[in-house]
Subunit: 442 residues, 2 copies
């Protein structure tokens, strides 16, 4: 049992001063006013404690080449980047995948992320040969998350072809399934993982990469479903040519679009897509940094306003969910030509709360969890944000987190009641970095 | 004489390893290979030293209400924000203006900014009464910069009316000049400031706020000229109605658009504006965070590609020039639907260099200085950036600075050879914050 007292606690019922949080090995067991705090309460001056952030879209292995494709070799776009990414995907050994994933999850933990949705598509040996354990690489990624100490929802990707009428290429062999059953069976096995911090979902990669006949079969999955939707114009055009409708409609006709569905990106939605997602209560996962980095574009404002939007760091060009949350609103302003676009009218700290919701509870929901904020009984997944930075001077606390914080402001992180980051450092930082070095692109 | 040896030095001729920098009271006097380094060289392990960053557009007093207008009171746009800003502008005493400016400059210094262009328009008493010294408030702002220890170019704003055919309102009285001569005389006095770290320019606020007849008279100014140009559509429409041309063309016809001119914002340029700026070698000052925050929009890509673009933190919604530099490229990608838009083709670290140029030398140029990078003989305005963060693992050093660094990565800052920030803290941090507290909006 640990009892900590920061200056502020952002609870499910609002911001509180001078309260302490008591947690046991898994859950919050008390939010204590001063008179009920034990004498040995651990004080965290200047800190604000809030729920851990949820990174709803990650390809952990892509951390391996951060910074190495930020220059021009001629014409550069999403597809040339994908070529470079394929090279990295096929060069990594299982040890490399585990080490790089651990590095990515370390950075997530230290920047205040306590739960990751890993959109996992490295399944086999390069070229497509199976490992003895067909879930070998998924287990490597899960082990990396558990070693760091964050929760993981393994979104087991289904990948069946290059594109309409074109079989997998050799460099896509590592991702490919032979049938939807192969993917569903793997997801079922992963969902049975004994550690309560692990869950699983199914992720038809995109309408491009999944044969149409497979889609209705995947709708048999009872649980979370994520898919890349309308990230690039070429994908949308290809879908209209093959399906005669938008990517979201193709998924919807197959029964995949429910309240358990998350549309990742949606930077190029078609008419009716946003409305449909709103109707069924599906989620949208926005990944603003990656969507800029890869030239995808900006999520249209109606999607920001009408759907349950959560956040992902995706390609890990950067891992900073404070910034991704801020971008939800800042990009909306630039697109709309006005201010406070996502703000509930008249509510003093409503916009900051809305952005922090996107970075926390909305992501939990998209990953099939029921985390609804910090309260007695909720999982003790918490972060402490230091507001004693010059940038925060004079700012209300929630606005300081939403509009000024960066990863270096996170000092302490707990998942399931265990403190995995203290004073801004993960307990195993040096080992994890050393293990990853040999596998990084040079 | 101080000699420091970080792991990397980003010199005018490229990135160097294992060299030391020797500086005297003002300038860099040596870039020393290992065999010429003194035994007592100060080592800065893991650090990269580069030129200090230049913040070419600042309204320091606006730091007073950071975080207090990030919520919706109904319809919120640039103009409702301006109303809130006027309230702050008219509530501050000279002591308050000095204290808040010092806080803003402190944050700049700690985040790696060594030179600020202060677009200064608080000249008089609220309502318009003159101070005994007509330059009282300019001197307060200059004193704040010198107290912190950064260079300042006081861009003395000219403000003559509310808008076409409409005199100054009471709440604009604090900004107003009675004639262009009043402004020119003030700028001339300020330019004669004895401290070499101080310079001055003239800044017709905008075509909206300056009577047309004044513009040609301001062209008599021999030096730096900055103006807000095409920040909001309403300003552009008003200019076409009054002048029959775009804001840039109106300034150009008056002789103000030369290589010493900077167009601030340019989020809504008219046909030919970008081409004209490129022709004369003028600068564009982009302020991406503020331009999003205020709903101005995005600088069009042709301006990013064809003109000399530098950066400003403007309203100080945030002060992070690493991020502003990154945004130059990331926004360009989202707008263009491709990658590496500003990158020189085939040059390995060319994009990172281009973005760091925008944050350093391009800003110097816009402020009338000749700083062209780190070399023997250049002013010793330097910053040390710590690359030992998890986010930088595996990244090439220049890409780490351009695509990953944030203000908390800055550990040491020198201006004119004086170390004003050490281990991430300005020597007078606590006093400056304490002095500012009473003047911040609550």
């Amino acid at each position: 049992m640990e009892v900590v007292r920061p200056d502020w606690v952002y609870t499910a019922s609002g911001l509180k001063r001078d309260v302490a949080i008591a947690m046991d090995d898994t859950r919050i067991v008390g939010i204590l006013p001063p008179e009920r705090q034990p004498r040995d309460v651990v004080r965290l001056p200047g800190r604000l404690i809030m729920p851990g952030m949820v990174n709803a879209h990650s390809h952990a292995f892509q951390r391996a080449f951060r910074g190495h494709v930020q220059w021009s070799q001629g014409e550069d776009d999403f597809w040339t980047w994908r070529q470079a990414m394929y090279g990295v995907a096929n060069s990594l050994t299982p040890d490399g995948i585990e080490a790089i994933s651990r590095l990515a999850f370390l950075e997530m933990a230290e920047s205040g992320i306590t739960h990751v949705g890993e959109f996992h598509y490295l399944h086999h040996r390069p070229g497509g040969g199976r490992y003895t354990d067909p879930d070998e690489l998924a287990h490597r990624v899960i082990r990396a998350a558990l070693d760091v100490g964050i929760r993981i929802t393994l979104l087991r990707v289904v990948y069946g072809r290059h594109s309409a009428g074109k079989a997998l290429t050799a460099e896509q062999g590592r991702f490919g399934d032979r049938s939807p059953d192969e993917a569903l069976a793997a997801a079922t096995r992963l969902a049975a993982h004994p550690d309560p911090r692990v869950s699983a979902g199914i992720a038809p990669h995109s309408v491009r990469a999944v044969p149409p006949a497979w889609l209705p079969e995947l709708a048999a999955w009872d649980g979370v479903v994520h898919a890349h939707v309308a990230e690039q114009p070429a994908e949308v055009e290809g879908c209209f040519a093959e399906h005669g409708c938008s990517p979201l409609q193709a998924l919807d006709r197959s029964g995949l679009v429910t309240s358990a569905f998350s549309a990742v990106h949606l930077t190029h939605p078609s008419a009716g897509d946003v409305q449909r997602l709103a109707e069924v209560g599906a989620s949208v996962v926005a990944c603003p940094t990656t969507e800029m980095d890869l030239g995808d574009g900006f999520l249209p404002n109606d999607a920001r306003q009408k759907t349950s939007v959560c956040l992902g760091s995706d390609s890990h060009a950067a891992i900073d969910l404070f910034w991704e949350a801020r971008a939800l609103e800042l990009h909306a302003r630039a697109l709309a030509g006005r201010r406070n676009v996502l703000a509930p009218p008249g509510e003093r700290h409503g916009l900051a709360k809305r952005l922090l919701h996107a970075a926390t509870s909305a992501g939990s929901r998209a990953l099939g969890s029921d985390a609804v904020g910090l309260q007695v009984g909720s999982e003790a997944d918490l972060i402490a944000v230091d507001l004693r930075h010059v940038a925060a001077v004079g700012m209300p606390p929630l606005e300081a987190v939403a509009f000024a914080a960066n990863p270096q402001w996170v000092t302490d992180v707990w998942t399931a009641g265990q403190r995995i980051v203290a004073d801004g450092r993960h307990v195993a930082r040096e080992r994890i970095i050393a293990d990853a070095r040999d596998h990084l692109l040079r």
